[in-house]
């Protein structure tokens, strides 16, 4: 379908034209309308693609270079519901983020909108592409625009450091990506994922194939902030502006995991062993989920808290991807969408607090949010949603994911899910109790530098919440709810995941113009009674732990010391981060070489 190029082409053209107009000082209204309209158009195009791809893969060969004898000559977008869904999530969050930015962003820096649109184009291109090198360039495009967006408040020190760490660690990741591409291209002579899959399926697995996958996965782990590649994320997300954070936490990191699933299922799934990879990915996911949750509990800076909550949930999503099962993947997809909107709500609420009160640290905010009832309600609901309160999308996704995990023999991860939901939910609810209710005893601030904010303090409006800020926050929450209640969404997700997992059908669609699907679609199951029980335990546990943290903090003092060691590792030193990333790549490469071949 030729129109499939538009969700990338339209924001690109709009962004460059906005930049071309900049020296002529276009009216701010025009800039805002163009950028919001463009993001909305991307969302609409993506929704159309989502609908169209329901039955067959939507294919676009750029330049009309269709494959010859199974050899891809050009670059293809090969769009299935999961890819289109990721693009739709990015487009929707971008609309909300840009609406939010109407009151938030300094009117003088109008290139902000051009950068947001390029960033969006990069994410959409990454979600739709069916070519390994093309994935890399869109990955780099979204990374470079993200570096700049993260460092937008450059007159402050923290955003500068956050942006630096982000840029350097992600650049190291891109080297690993290129090494992976070079290895697999050297072996297969192909860059199209379907063609790579065909070539690799024909030959016995060896170290080269396993290591090339490990390097690609390492690069994407950097983006997806999987331990030990995750350090940069908290630094960058804690300091970026709220509209940027909404996109970072809601969809950019998740795209890293999407990339791993896409590359595995189209390229490697018939070449390497599934059992070994399952253990590796689920292990990494569990580690990431626990580290993120514990670190979130230790934060008082609200955005940094949300950043670690994001890391924690990325670990949970990785478990879903790592089940290598259609239920697990479908659950992860719904979970990502539901959680992405909840994170959008949470970041928007923090942004509103910051806008009204000029701070984002609990210690400076205690009790000062009493007036903001609407924000308090949205924040608390979203926090409970994170702790998988039914019927949010996160509940449905998680139930499906856990079902997938138990069918492949990893039922025990349910315990991890409950623990992480309790820890993260408690961290968020504690913050809500402190800021909006004034509960708890707050320790003195150690040094002033900690409260340096990512936003200009001059534009606070203590009295009220601007409509353009409240609207996205509420809209995101409604979207998170919708994902949980739309009838048949679980079935649709499972069907989409089944197709995602069918390498032969994908290759047939892309290279040979259609194929018979070999998979038999099975109906997706709704949540069981025990899923409701788990959700009840998670929410009650989160509330109870938050209560203890706020009113009986002495009970948990003993946990401080072990946590201090973990916190010390998050040093803010880019050399540490790069060393950990290299260590992670070496370990992952070694594990893959040993267990997958």
């Amino acid at each position: 379908m030729a129109l499939a190029a538009l969700p990338v082409a339209v924001p690109v053209i709009a962004a460059t034209l906005l930049a071309a107009l900049k020296p002529f000082d276009p009216p701010r209204r025009l800039v805002l309308l163009t950028s919001i309209g463009t993001a909305a158009a991307v969302a609409v195009f993506s929704a159309i693609l989502l609908a169209r791809s329901g039955d067959e893969t939507v294919l676009l060969w750029f330049g009309a270079w269709t494959p010859r004898d199974g050899v891809a000559l050009g670059v293809s977008f090969a769009i299935d519901p999961l890819g289109a869904g990721a693009a739709l999530l990015a487009g929707t969050l971008a609309v909300g983020a840009l609406v939010f930015s109407i009151r938030y962003v300094d009117p003088s820096d109008d290139l902000f909108h051009a950068l947001m649109l390029v960033f969006l184009a990069g994410m959409v291109g990454f979600a739709l592409s069916g070519d390994l090198f093309n994935l890399f360039v869109f990955f780099e495009l979204l990374s470079t625009s993200a570096f700049v967006l993260a460092g937008y408040q450059i007159e402050r020190r923290a955003p500068l450091e956050g942006s630096l760490n982000f840029a350097i660690v992600n650049t190291v990741g891109s080297f690993l990506f290129l090494f992976g591409i070079a290895l697999v291209y050297g072996r297969t002579g192909a860059l199209n994922l379907a063609q790579i899959g065909q070539e690799l399926a024909r030959q016995p697995p060896d170290a080269l194939v396993a290591v090339s996958f490990a390097l690609l996965a390492s690069a994407l782990f950097v983006k997806a902030a999987i331990v030990p590649f995750h350090f940069w994320l908290a630094d960058a997300y804690a300091v970026a502006r709220t509209p940027v954070c909404i996109l970072f936490a809601g969809v950019m990191s998740e795209l890293g995991l999407y990339g791993i699933a896409r590359i595995w299922w189209t390229g490697y799934s018939d070449a390497l062993g599934h059992e070994g990879l399952r253990a590796i990915l689920i292990g990494a996911g569990v580690l990431t989920a626990l580290v993120g949750a514990l670190m979130a509990l230790a934060q008082t800076h609200l955005k940094r808290l949300l950043a670690f909550a994001t890391i924690s949930y990325l670990g949970l999503f990785l478990i879903g991807v790592g089940t290598l099962d259609s239920d697990g993947l479908a659950g992860a997809a719904l979970f990502v969408a539901g959680d992405g909107f909840l994170k959008g709500t949470l970041f928007a609420c923090v942004g509103i607090v910051q806008h009204r009160l000029g701070h984002v640290d609990e210690r400076a905010l205690q009790g000062r949010g009493r007036e903001a009832r609407l924000v308090a309600a949205l924040f608390a609901l979203a926090a409970l949603g994170v702790a998988s309160l039914p019927p949010f999308g996160s509940f449905l996704g998680k139930a499906l994911l856990e079902h997938g995990a138990s069918t492949v023999g990893y039922g025990w991860v349910t315990a991890v899910f409950i623990a992480v939901a309790i820890l993260t939910g408690a961290a968020l609810l504690r913050a809500a109790g402190c800021v909006f209710l004034g509960l708890g005893e707050v320790e003195e601030m150690e040094d002033e530098s900690d409260v340096e904010e990512g936003e200009p303090a001059g534009e606070t409006e203590p009295g009220r919440t601007p409509v353009v800020m409240a609207l996205p926050a509420a809209g995101f929450l409604a979207a998170a709810l919708a994902i949980g209640v739309i009838p048949g969404i679980a079935d649709a997700a499972v069907r989409a995941a089944d197709r995602f997992l069918d390498r032969g059908a994908y290759a047939g669609d892309v290279l040979f113009g259609g194929s018979e699907s070999s998979s038999v679609p099975q109906p997706g199951l709704g949540p069981h009674w025990y899923d409701w029980l788990y959700a009840a335990i998670s929410c009650a546990g989160a509330l109870a732990l938050a209560w203890v943290l706020l009113l009986r903090p002495a009970a948990l003092r003993g946990a401080r010391r072990p946590l201090a060691g973990l916190r010390a590792l998050h040093s803010g030193h880019v050399g540490d981060y790069v060393a950990f990333a290299v260590a992670g790549a070496a370990v992952l490469g070694g594990l893959c070489a040993v267990t997958l071949t």
Binding site: I13, P23, V75, L115, I154, V211
Partner: protein, 252 residues
Amino acid sequence: MTRRVRLALFLASAVGLAVVLGFALAGLPGFDADLGRYASFVASHAVSQRRGTNSVVDVAFDYRAIDTLAEELMIFVAAVGAAVLLAHARDESDEGQAADLEALRAPSTSDLLRTFGPGLAAVAIVLGVYIVTHGHLSPGGGFQGGVILSTALVLVFVAGRTLAAARTRPLAPLEVAEAVGAAGFALIGLGGLVFASVFFENFLPLGTKGSLLSAGTIPLSNVAVGIEVAGAFALVFAELVDQMVLGRGGDT
């Protein structure tokens, strides 16, 4: 971590990575193997299909033009980003700005550069334009030529002429050039959708092999990219020069 612990962690990991890479790289085909199917198809068909004799440029600007579009946008982002990331420093030293521009005009810029700058710039412009416009025939193209062109623009800058004549927006022409170049390349892609059937499909006559006006949209794309790259790199240089000049005023 202390410096020593960090180094130890890195060295251990680097050894591990070296071993892993060693096993993997050993599996690559040697220099005597046959080319892969994709590469051999492109090598044998690019000229007949595209009429551009430089098959690397055929790949970059036609078969895989969407990659190059994303790459051009990265340059666009870098130029915009450098301006954004360096912008606030300028605001601070506003007072010293006029004096700085004075200082730049007079003895601080080497007389040699001021004398020979325009001549060097002319050479760079001719060379850059040649490389941009002959990308489809011989090594080079919009990117390489564009960087050379940007140095010409910088030579003009360093010679102190543009900056000295600066009023409110000395960089506006560069900003427009880089954005219009990037937009132009994207619009060439859109032209494929409008005039042919698919984004980035060729919609111009292919011409005869080896002539300047051949290879369909490829030379046009190279010109758009050349304009964009020249503007973007010149913008980055100019932003840094700006920093340097104003920083001196602010700190001494």
